[in-house]
Symmetry: C2
């Protein structure tokens, strides 16, 4: 086998090695099925067990109330940006409130604006999206169709430390980059959604957790695959779902439940991993600076800059030489970014922290 | 390794064994990438090579003219049923002509009817969808936004022997179950689309081949992921595509090009395989009957009935005992169905044919 590196990519991202090895074993012949997991019918009992098992795991991990559906869709978060607005805004006669804390909430507001009127309830643009709003900064419309926020901004590394209070208006949350990374009170949400390829599996499947009363609102003039109501009635099997991606989600959620021990446990581990990096940044005396404000710095994505920009390239090269890879930051923030999702081992983060300390010492 | 059966499933369907074995090798560590094919960034050079390679292969195999885009989408054919109508019908001020030859073209017309006016240009319902129209049976509107047909009806096993002539109106074709199975004159089409999980790969990616002038028609009031124009401008990388599914499509199209030798070659093989079964049916003296009329019986899906329905269950059990699996027909047609896509080896079809002859002899 070739050597595996520590992959700090924002997504598709690292998966637990033992899950890759199990998928590898099942790839030519899934036990008892007589064919590959790629060839298995989505109407078979074998696949039923996989998709129902994945749903049951997600329900257990989050403690999802019975009046919520868990859907397995395709199209990623950007399709959800559009679907939320097509289903819940376009024919509502209302406007929707958007809280803009980074690239992805901004993009979501742009997609929604193709479907109806949106209000910007908060905008962190002036400080290049480095923080979440204080409750008193939110300009909320009590008659809004919904309030939209992004739980963790992958690019800016800004993560809500606590939920915004939106009263009785349905709250919609994009959890793409912190799905299954910490406990969430699902009952506070109308819709939560997340693409898989950060914490939950490979690219190609998107989980949607949606409250029954919102499912019921989908207008009849929407085709089935973008209609929450029709899709939910079809129990995610209106047509062939992305069977392989769902199978990996099943394995990842098995691992979270049975080996890690649940979301409170993984949240603790994620906090410890993140603190290794934030502590190194803080102790560097300004050699490194984090992009996000301390109260909302993400436990999933850690964007940071070097005080001397000319050292950025040597930093990335030096890291890569130690198999610490995919650390270049997004152009809109600059600098570096370490994505340290659930499956990134502590050892990988320790190795990065050690390199950061060493590099700072040598180049101070 | 567990035993692999002959899998006659309509989809997800059989894949070439050597492709499964290669995917298995790459599943923990893709050569040179330092991580799994599931963990690789969609913005990496490695993935660029995969997606551009898959596109180049499909262009070569079909001889696609330069004024067509090849898109890799998600959501399967049913999302395309909706997207065709959202993009090309809803704001067109026109109606669209639908040719109904089976379950999937009918479903497509229902999805389109949520977006605008549709005309039924032909309907084979009276004969339980067992044939395609003769040219003179088509009631076409010369001002239609488009004419829609399904090249191969997976459930009814009805496949067009030749294209319908639709004049200057754009022709839209659902190729989900005969994609890459025979040559097609792409220049006759406005849009061709196909989910992967029959002939091209696993579930989770949908190929769309669309002419430039139709791409340009997408209205601005459609979110990005259901907007052909925005999606095409993003070159299928607006957001994270289903990387693993596209990787398998690349391997399958490599195999078609380099080992099979192209679409004319695979079409010949597919015809030979289909004839093994249709000949056995014809020579059975009425013991078996095919669902589709002879001039349009599919080379991909072969639905057939037994004259004595009480023999159906023993037939399926006897077949399964010989590892000939997934032969139960769809409830709307009844009887049995053998799906014999590109990757089904001749040996598998021969084994089924032999069993059919033997079973008929023993139960005549």
């Amino acid at each position: 086998m070739e050597k595996r590196v520590y992959n700090f990519s924002p997504g598709p991202a690292v998966l637990p090695l033992k899950i890759l090895e199990q998928a590898q074993r099942d790839l030519v012949c899934y036990p008892g099925a007589g064919c590959s997991i790629l060839e298995i019918s989505h109407r078979s009992k074998t696949f039923d067990k996989i998709i129902l098992g994945a749903e049951a795991n997600i329900r257990t991990l989050y403690g999802i109330p019975d009046n919520y559906r868990v859907l397995f869709m395709q199209g990623g978060a950007i399709l959800q940006f559009g679907m939320v607005a097509m289903n819940l805004l376009r024919d509502s006669g209302k406007a929707a409130d958007y809280i803009l804390t980074g690239t992805w909430s901004k993009k979501a507001s742009e997609e929604a604006a193709t479907q109806g009127k949106i209000n910007v309830a908060f905008n962190a643009k002036a400080t290049n999206y480095n923080r979440v709003p204080k409750q008193e900064e939110l300009k909320l419309d009590p008659n809004a169709a919904y309030v939209y926020h992004c739980s963790n901004e992958t690019i800016q590394g800004v993560q809500y430390p606590a939920l915004p209070n939106v009263g009785d208006v349905p709250l919609i949350g994009d959890f793409s980059s912190d799905f299954l990374s910490r406990p969430v009170d699902v009952s506070k949400y109308g819709v939560m959604f997340a693409c898989a390829q950060k914490n939950a599996g490979p690219a190609g499947v998107t989980m949607v957790i949606i409250r029954d009363d919102l499912v019921a609102k989908s207008p009849a003039n929407l085709p089935s695959l973008v209609n929450y109501k029709v899709f939910a009635e079809g129990k995610s099997l209106l047509n062939t779902p992305p069977t392989f991606a769902i199978y990996i989600v099943k394995l990842v959620t098995d691992w979270l439940l049975n080996e890690i021990g649940g979301l409170a446990k993984i949240a603790k581990i994620n906090e410890q991993k993140a603190n290794l990096l934030y502590d190194a940044i803080e102790q560097s005396g300004g050699f490194y600076t984090a992009h996000a404000e301390p109260n909302c710095c993400s436990h999933m994505n850690v964007p940071f800059r070097l005080a001397k920009p000319e050292l950025e390239e040597p930093f990335l090269k030096g890291a890569a030489a130690l198999d610490l890879c995919e650390l270049k930051g997004h152009r809109s923030v600059g600098g570096c970014r370490a994505s340290i999702y659930n499956a990134m081992p502590v050892e990988g983060v320790q190795a990065l922290r050690d390199f950061m300390l060493d590099f700072a010492k040598k180049n101070a």
